[in-house]
């Protein structure tokens, strides 16, 4: 395969439950914005859940990982367990003072709360700037 594009170079892989509740959608919006701001790169949790080899292997081979669940049901966490993957940097939106059950469309304040917490998890770590290439997977 090509080795001149899409090389992760240690950039943070970010997976969110993106579930059907306000907190699920907050997780999704936070991950979208973190990707757009160059913090890391959004990746497809559904592909991991579907046990597609490219997705499961990508998680195994990516050192910097962020996994975001909206609520304690922990669907993302469960997907990792089901696939024998090591959970690292796990964020649960409801543990940040945001209640499940609000409007489906997230407020920017709530999204910012999650983003700030997430950035704090990696504070002090030297992370490479995410590149503009998004050709491999969304």
């Amino acid at each position: 395969m090509a080795d001149d594009c899409c090389t992760p170079n240690g950039q943070v892989m970010i997976l969110a439950c993106s579930g059907g509740s306000n907190v699920g959608q907050i997780s999704n919006q936070a991950v979208v914005e973190l990707t757009m701001e160059g913090f890391g790169k959004i990746y497809c949790l559904a592909g991991v859940g579907g046990k597609l080899s490219g997705f499961v292997q990508s998680v195994k081979d990516t050192p910097n990982l962020l996994v975001m669940d909206g609520c304690p049901v922990g669907c993302a966490k469960a997907i990792f367990k089901e696939n024998g993957l090591t959970l690292r940097n796990h964020v649960v939106v409801t543990e940040l003072g945001i209640e499940k059950g609000g409007p489906l469309k997230p407020s920017q304040e709530e999204v910012d709360t999650v983003k700030e917490h997430t950035r704090g998890l990696f504070a002090g770590q030297s992370l490479p700037k995410a590149g503009g290439c998004s050709c491999c997977c969304g």
Partner: protein, 58 residues
């Protein structure tokens, strides 16, 4: 990859994909990546010959 495959005696085709749209169909997070018989074996790193041998033996 090619030398490891050759040493294994396997005569299957070994190729390098450079078309990003085709690479995207494997869903890999980055490259280089290794795919054997449709299964992604490594992502973002070049495997060792021993790793390749073990995959081919499976």
């Amino acid at each position: 990859m090619k030398s490891a495959v050759a040493k294994s005696g396997i005569t299957d085709e070994v190729g390098k994909l450079i078309d990003m749209m085709k690479i995207a169909t494997y869903g890999v997070f980055g490259t280089p990546a290794v795919v054997i018989d449709g299964q992604v074996k490594a992502v973002g790193k070049a495997p060792t010959k021993d790793e390749v041998k073990s995959w081919l033996a499976q």
